[in-house]
């Protein structure tokens, strides 16, 4: 590692009296508040799943439309993207611009694959013959499952999409020649956001998908 890079590592962001850079403390505060946001969405889904467990008097068996292999693949992809993101943050801290660029690209590609899987999944659910799941119906009968499911997973998907655009911005910026280790804190904040999106999915996958197969 070059001396310049080492010096750059010691580059200090404006810090609060706590010794933590402003941007970082802002991001952690935002993530704390986003926890509450997803907490309410997950709670709502679970409660309505419990109290509206039937369609026309028969138990709601959502496994008819779930494709657990696809969702497991999406989960693997998102977990892998977190590794790329962590390595991108590590690379920019070390001043390795080339590696940062590749790792950012890897994260973007994997994030996009995750989104593509979600788009396919939603389309498949809405048009699944005989078991259509829309925002307000299941198998053509009014039911609340679609509302809570699409709002929860859709909100998560929106977070992923925002993350992909954010990373895309950094990737484009890296080609302008202006990116340096001075940007490490910004990319670290972006990474924090991306990992948060990952941990939200870590909760959603078993709670919303796998739990349906437990009974």
């Amino acid at each position: 590692m070059s001396e310049a890079a080492t010096h750059a590592l010691e580059h200090h962001e404006p810090v609060t009296s706590t010794g933590i850079p402003n941007k970082k403390i802002l991001m952690w505060t935002f993530l704390g508040s986003d926890c509450m946001f997803f907490g309410t969405l997950i709670s709502t889904h679970l409660i309505y799943r419990k109290i509206s467990g039937t369609v026309n008097g028969t138990p709601l068996d959502i496994r008819n439309i779930f494709d657990i292999e696809l969702t497991s693949f999406s989960t693997f992809i998102l977990l892998a993207s977190s590794l790329f993101m962590a390595l991108a943050v590590s690379a920019i801290h070390k001043g390795n611009l080339k590696s940062t660029r590749w790792m950012l690209l890897g994260t973007i590609v994997f994030g996009t694959i995750f989104l593509a899987c979600q788009v396919y999944e939603f389309t498949h659910f809405v048009y699944h013959e005989g078991h259509e799941l829309t925002l307000s119906t299941y198998q053509g009968e009014p039911h609340v499952f679609g509302s809570t499911f699409y709002v929860l997973t859709g909100t998560h998907g929106t977070h992923v999409a925002i993350g992909v655009f954010w990373l895309l911005g950094w990737l484009v910026y890296s080609f302008t020649g202006r990116m340096s280790t001075a940007d490490a804190m910004d990319i670290e904040c972006c990474g924090l956001y991306w990992h948060f999106v990952d941990i939200v999915w870590i909760i959603i996958f078993p709670v919303v998908y796998l739990m349906e197969y437990a009974f």
Binding site: T6, I20, G39, F76, A86
Partner: protein, 242 residues
Amino acid sequence: MSGHAEDPVLEESKRFFTFFNLSMILVAITGIEIVIIYVETFEGSAIISVLFATSILKFVGVVWWFMHLRWDKILNTILFLLGLGIALGTFFAVIYMADTHPVIEEDGFSVTPLDNKWETGKDYVKGDYVLQGESYYKANFDHKAPASFTEQVDSGEGLEIPWSEVTGVPHLFKWKISHGDSVEINSLDPGNQFFHQYEPAEEENIEGSKVSLLKKAASTEDFRIKVRSEAYLTVWPEETNQ
């Protein structure tokens, strides 16, 4: 958690292996989750516990290492845990609000001594109780009752008297409850002990019954039934602080 190390470049290089290993562990845990579901290794409630535990492991792994909390100042951890704590609080509050007290319906719990008289020609299964004279008897094996109570019948291993006298009084316990996760019945008489607890398969409109041998004759008032839902506990008759 006291800030970055003295040589941050070397530190970042070391972290590469940490991140890679963690990533492999996360993928392995996800694989285990899927296998557990497919193989149906455990019962429903146990599966949920296992999924809950594996999710926490993955959650902590990502937050602690990928999100650098391990190396950051503790204030970041506090800020995040604050939001997480409120989210969990919201979850339990919503569960509490959505739940209602389980209701034991009128005459929905009864305990009565069995008074099944022995009848000739009737089919009995192993474990059935009958009242013959002043005593209770228990069926030793499945059989069709012959002409007289003391007549031997074929048990499959030869001719035998199908009944054995028991000490005590068999009772029929019956309950009918609106909803709940767990039902518990216990005797209020220390000299006539009884305890039964089970988790109903269906959590709504629970109906159940059980025949159990007690030391002496008892009535419904000699027992207490407790029904738990996710947030509430219904007890009948109500417990008094004596």
